[in-house]
Symmetry: C2
Subunit: 447 residues, 2 copies
């Protein structure tokens, strides 16, 4: 037999997995819709020029490019190196995230859209990362964004969406961690090194992984003097409730208008008690998030501590995403759910309900040609009641049909009794019960 495989980092999703994934996606979609977000779908392929330069040098390398049709040999001969060859040969590339296509869509449809535009998008993306456990080359993103509104109410609603969806999925103990990029900018000013803001945020973001001493070392490597490092470490060790942290930040950032603006934003989002959370957002001053387009609140959702999973979602406010495509002045804020990781969390905590895996409820055995019409009638009757029903298609021995039903885990088996005309036998396999039902009683039988 030919040795078959699928590309590294991609997956087939069999029936059970598709059903469980759809359970998660439905919960997310339902809440997105409930909050008035509207669905958008963009093409799998974008022009290469739309994507390049938006994700950093590393990102550019990870974008999958699609070969042009036609005389590519001629084009190929003009290239000086592999990078240039890729550009010459590939006008199209696969979507790398949902944010840039969304920005592109907003710019292209700007005249027609009613702003603020609340859109959600649930589609796969592709990245040429080295595949490893939990990291795939094809994976789904689930994003909700609002563009065209500066109001912090959007931030509150998006946090509430996280809270609602994760509660709907039966999760408890997840944590909504928030911070603000303006506060981090204030910290860099406080340290006296606004030029090193990115370096500082990259280092403190690693506190969880490398500990306080690790962060000190990394800050030193990135060019901070010992007293500057002290200021950073004091800052990120601010403790207490959200209110206590904000109070202390007010003092620490008293000389930074940007920093104070960030504190004020956090105070509105966290302190205004406009809505109730099952798991209230808390300030995490070490939260930085890698993407440099964030300019306001940032958020990351941590899985319950009992599972070792890390972040299951994240987002934030960005002030000028569409500016990349020449349309400045449109602020946006968005969140994203990490479906693959949420799947693993639900699996580990056994939170998938039985209904998420339900398929065929009843199978009628094939009775042979003579009584086929009768059984077809029963099958149609159950389907009209919305009961998922199969008729075993082949006229083979009943024990083989039974084995199929067993292997599929179908709970109800039904067949016509050969020796008792006019009787339908129905077996409830999990309960090990058997019923004899007359045709006229089938309509009322509870499966």
């Amino acid at each position: 037999m030919i040795k078959l495989s699928i590309p590294q980092g991609t997956r087939d999703f069999g029936p059970e997995v598709v059903r469980k994934r759809n359970y998660i996606l439905s919960a997310i979609r339902k809440t997105f819709e409930l909050y008035g977000f509207q669905p958008l779908e963009t093409p799998t392929m974008e022009n290469t020029s739309t994507l390049l330069g938006k994700y950093g040098e590393e990102g550019d390398r990870l974008i999958f490019k699609i070969l042009n049709n036609g005389d590519i040999l001629g084009q190929a001969q003009m290239a000086k190196d592999s990078r240039e060859l890729g550009l010459l040969l590939c006008e199209k590339a696969l979507r790398y995230d949902l944010t840039i296509p969304f920005a592109r869509y907003v710019v292209m449809n700007h005249g027609k859209l009613s702003l603020p535009f609340r859109r959600y998008q649930i589609q796969p993306v592709w990245r040429g990362d080295k595949p490893q456990r939990g990291r795939y080359r094809e994976f789904y993103q689930c994003d909700a964004d609002v563009v065209g509104s500066n109001s912090l109410i959007n931030e509150i609603e998006l946090l509430k969406i996280y809270d609602t969806v994760l509660t709907d999925l039966g999760m408890t103990g997840y944590q909504l961690k928030v911070n603000n990029r303006k506060v981090l900018a204030g910290l860099a000013e406080l340290v006296g090194r606004p030029d090193l803001m990115i370096d500082i945020t990259i280092a403190i973001d690693k506190l969880d992984k490398i500990g306080a001493n690790g962060v000190r070392e990394e800050l030193a490597e990135r060019g901070l003097q010992p007293f500057e490092i002290g200021t950073v470490m004091d800052f990120i060790s601010v403790q207490g409730s959200n209110d206590e942290k904000l109070e202390r930040l007010m003092q620490l950032l008293a000389d930074s208008p940007t920093g104070l603006k960030g504190v004020e934003e956090l105070r509105f989002i966290l302190g205004s008690n406009l809505t109730n959370f099952n798991s209230a957002p808390t300030i995490d001053l070490t939260l930085a998030r890698g993407l440099n387009y964030y300019t306001g609140m940032i958020v990351e959702v941590k899985a319950p501590e009992s599972v070792n999973m890390g972040s299951i979602g994240g987002g934030g406010r960005y002030d000028d995403l569409t500016g990349l495509f020449g349309l400045p002045g449109i602020s946006g804020v968005g969140i994203s759910f990490g479906v693959d990781r949420i799947y693993d969390v639900l699996e580990e905590l056994k939170l998938f309900p039985a209904t998420a895996q339900q398929s065929t409820q009843v199978i009628f055995f094939n009775p042979g040609a003579e009584k086929l019409g009768e059984v077809f009638g029963y099958v149609s009757q159950l389907r009209e009641r919305g009961i998922v029903t199969e008729l075993y298609p082949d006229d083979i021995k009943q024990d083989k049909q039974y084995k199929y039903a067993e292997k599929r885990g179908i709970p109800f088996i039904a067949y016509i009794e050969e020796n008792a005309p006019g009787i339908i036998s129905i077996k409830n396999i999990p309960l090990k019960q058997r019923y004899n039902v007359k045709p006229e009683e089938l309509a009322g039988f509870e499966f």
Copy 2:
């Protein structure tokens, strides 16, 4: 501003279109599930070797290939022509249909699957066709297939699925046209030119488009003698009910065991009255279907005659699809829905229900900071009732908020009366009615 575009033959689907498409996909999915079909999703990218050689030479050219990472310049220099270059540079390619990936999946998971395996798959595919009206480079396929069963009951159930879904979508007057490849093989034998079976089927398939004289000419061009052409034309002009046609075919194909087998299959599928159809399948002897892997019944669904649309679905039985990947002896039968064309039919016949386009039902105007908490409470209350509700995020003049609501087509507008504390004004825009509601009455208000 930068000139933005998306690749030729691809589409952005905005909110209204996504909702209508989902309405169609949900109807199809619901019936697939009801009949016990199970969901499968395969990767967007397949190994190029999995796809090549499966769709004919033309198909091979239309497959989108994905550029390898790494030193492609070195690889490129070894190529003699553009075709070879594509193969050297691209180990991966985009899914071209759902059938080959399904066959690949069945072969790879053969040991684990319970046969017969009924799977459905709803995913996009990509083809480098020249884009034109109604033909896209990215489009969805919706397939249901049964593999591992020779029973003709599957054919009946699949025909019934077409009938159920199209009825659910509100369509009438669609036609289920069926034929059998064995009958066509019998015709080629009858003509005495079994070697020209493909040529004959290709020619007669065009009867709709080019008329009887056109078919005669094409048959001549394809090498048939005048008396052979006469036999073909007599054959395809057999008239009457299904039973009358089958009767006549029995006589015509009396000397062709293959042809008679095809007649017998059609008789079982169409004549057994095992189930009722809203629009019963009819025999169309000119129906051939291009794909050469079909070996038994073939089916094509024609849109209602009042719309000029042609085929909105098709399928058939294939006896050895997994044989392509070295696993012989597994028969299959499947159908496919053409979502884009069904969309156009429903649009033209105005069959999309209002619910397929429903988004936000209620918007609360932003009352300004002071009363924000109160309004947030009302919004949460409606969302808990499952009513899609927005809170306008920005604190701007009410007439601007009103314009947003109007442009979005939101039917209910709600706001707090500034001059009448404790009163919520609710306007039903389509009915031009206005209600004053007390907070404690909101829970019972019917939106």
